[in-house]
Symmetry: C2
């Protein structure tokens, strides 16, 4: 158990908060998307929220926690879905939200502190005609370092691929968890040591990412009476090299009508939709293609009246994890999966899954670039009945060549490639020798002998809440 008063003494003037209600609130993220994680993690809480204002304060916190053996779990805005920012063994929640300065903007580049919120960064970079390449649907609340530490891609991935792709993050500055914390600058391949590592092997204190040109993206919703027609149209758009989109998604009926309540007035119950962000100068050629394909435009923001637009969320807030979020607000019993439909037969694979599962797993695709080709990743809604059926649905996907990134697991490996990431593990040995950073999230660290072939779920013995 953490000795709060000793720790607070060592932290001096650094802002802390130990009111249990607030600590618990700041110890949570969107883990409750998953009925599995909701059960497992609901009681998780830290002991102390610590809110540094500078890298120097981060160093001071890590040094004090190292000395006292206190776990430290970093947190941006807490918009993750897998308990990434939840302190499984208690200790300090390192709230980086106040380190949110935008340090410099140049052609093609921005440098920020870790807690800078994506939409806020873009408000500044747009003054130079630029915006972030990639953002999750939680654009208005998520922090940049949180996105890099816990996300994989999002809006913009149709043009740039994922965060993992070389070039989508330029530089990270991190602080290690050692007796004398070191400050390291990482670029090139070294970035993979700490990207999508949930903060298990270093605390990000500065980020440099590339910028893209900013446009006044036009939100478009296209309706189809058949889901696979929507999928094929989306695939056609994604492969149309002369058209510029920032987002291409599909959602199967009846999800759009039933869950996109503010857009419901534009939709039929039977509508499967394609959700788009279109560059203004691509609208006319896009409409030429839509007309040829007999695609019916249900909504477009560039011609909608002020009355029609009133209260509507942007289209990106219907996509990625927001699709499920809107569903959960209407029907808390649903959940979701994360599926990759690999190129080149991604459309056929989607068709097969649609046939097998029907309305038990209504389709939701996000079109992305993947190693140079257009592929799609899916975040289908699942009408959840039991853990056993959920596992069965996962197994059927995998048996059909559609790998699952399981969103019902809180560890890096189980939500990812189901194998040890040797680069991240090796770096954790260097940067966090006592294993105090975000404990329980890296199976390879906690249980090097874990048998990935066994298909067992990893149970973190340090999970304080479950004891």
């Amino acid at each position: 158990m953490t000795d709060i008063s000793a720790l607070k003494a060592a932290l001096g003037d650094i802002r802390t908060e130990d009111n249990p209600a607030i600590v618990k609130q700041k110890s949570r993220d969107f883990f409750w998307y998953s009925p599995v994680l909701k059960r497992e993690l609901d009681a998780v809480t830290g002991d102390l929220i610590v809110t540094p204002k500078s890298e120097a304060e981060v160093i001071q916190v890590l040094k004090a926690c190292y000395a006292q053996g206190v776990p430290v779990t970093p947190r941006g805005s807490g918009t993750g879905n897998y308990g990434q920012a939840m302190p499984l063994s208690g200790g300090v929640v390192l709230n980086l939200a106040e380190m949110n300065a935008i340090k410099s903007i140049a052609p093609g580049r921005v440098v920020t502190e870790p807690g800078a919120v994506l939409a806020h960064i873009d408000r500044e970079t747009r003054k130079t005609g630029q915006e972030l390449r990639l953002h999750p649907s939680t654009y208005n609340t998520a922090s940049l370092a949180g996105f890099i530490a816990g996300g994989s891609g999002g809006v913009g991935s149709i043009n740039w691929g994922g965060l993992r792709d070389l070039g989508n993050v330029l530089r990270l500055r991190i602080v290690t968890m050692e007796e004398e914390p070191r400050v390291l600058e990482l670029g090139g391949w070294d970035l993979h040591k700490v990207m999508h590592a949930y903060g298990t092997n270093g605390i990000i204190t500065e980020v440099e990412v590339p910028l893209d040109v900013a446009y006044d993206w036009v939100d478009v919703v296209v309706g189809f009476d058949d889901y696979m027609r929507a999928v094929r149209f989306a695939n056609l758009l994604a492969n149309s090299d002369g058209l510029l989109f920032k987002e291409i998604a599909t959602v199967a009926a009846p999800v759009p009508h039933d869950y996109f309540l503010r857009h419901q007035k534009f939709l039929k119950k039977t509508d499967s939709v394609v959700l788009l962000m279109v560059a203004p100068h691509a609208i006319d050629p896009f409409l030429a293609l839509a007309a040829r394909e007999k695609a019916e435009i249900r909504y477009r923001s560039d011609t909608a009246s002020e009355a029609e637009k009133k209260g509507l969320p942007p289209v990106y807030e219907l996509t990625w994890n927001h699709t499920t979020l809107r569903g959960l607000r209407v029907d808390p019993s649903i959940t979701y999966l994360q599926v990759l439909y690999p190129f080149p037969d991604h459309v056929e694979k989607v068709g097969r899954m649609t046939e097998i599962f029907g309305d038990e797993v209504p389709g939701h695709l996000e079109f992305i670039r993947f190693d140079g080709n257009v592929a799609c990743t899916g975040l289908p809604i699942v009408r959840y009945t039991s853990d056993e059926r959920l596992d069965e649905i996962i197994a059927i996907h995998e048996d059909n060549g559609c790998p699952i990134f399981n969103p019902h697991r809180y560890t890096l490996e189980e939500g990812g490639m189901k194998q040890t990431n040797e680069v991240q593990l090796a770096f954790k040995r260097e940067a966090d020798p006592k294993g105090l950073l975000n404990p329980g999230k890296m199976v390879a660290w906690e249980n090097p002998d874990f048998d990935w072939e066994s298909n067992k779920v990893f149970l973190f013995p340090g999970l304080r809440a479950s004891s």
Copy 2:
């Protein structure tokens, strides 16, 4: 034979030129790249150069020529390679170079007159942080409408595909060749009626094209001791979604050392090269990838000294048709081909051609997006010996699944898909009922019964020079 004095009378104040030496000079393009076209077209000349200053003057010229039955062949800057702008039946060469105004620049769009030179357009659009998506290697001299009427793609095609792709041209304004010429605005699918039609079915008087973000592209030359290593590296770069290039080309040894004379000091005789334009913010991640692949950087413009850069052409002037041009300056006996290596086995196909031909056909690839995938088009040098061997080389390519767009033919079909373009033909019937626009370039018009299966070369009976 054109009655020059009657025509000049009908043209009033519109600028004309009938000095035979100047007329002949303005009746030529880069047809002499091809030993075949050089023989066939060397004597071609018009009767009169007419230089309109406005759309109203274009209308007046077309009306007068229609009335007198005079052929009209439009010309931008004469940078084509297939006799596109050469008046096979004499008559008027319509020089559009003086109609070169840039009419408006907006986010993502520019509107210009037809004769505006690409580099000049970009000098203006760069003031707004933007530049053209696509340009040929003749960027500094080619006109925008000439590029659209006679080109297919170029620098930038790695990101945007070709001119044919919906969205890469937004609008064309054209004048028809009728008793009362009409002015038409074309967009969407209608653009294909006149794009890449060599001006055979309308005279372009205004162009609207999309713009991309402008960067200070870094010229990079990478050297390899083996051509296929260069090809695989280029293919890897082209498929790296997070890296931003404007140009990716490969050229096989000994062409770079022997023909790129100003860059020779950086190159070994054995160097096969990858030629790149890299976004400044992609340089560091690019170098990380290059290091992993053991690629040796021979030249990069961002770190070269002023002395090293002195007199060097930009890298794009080593690519596309400039590769051959530089070769021709050193060895006038060479020529070239235009090959498509289709996705997904483009690299294997390049390997096979390299094996078969060796130094008889030194490789030159341009990586492009093609229907959503990365593919490559080739402009290999050919060490020309005879027309028969040239035809044989073409046949071997086609037998191996590598379609040839024959640059040794002056007709649209023979240089293209070897079949009638029904859309362009139908539009010619409407827009040029007398067949006076650029005669001899559309086989389907001149000889509707031409047998495409026969493998015969089309001989234009109206070719005045050969009579």
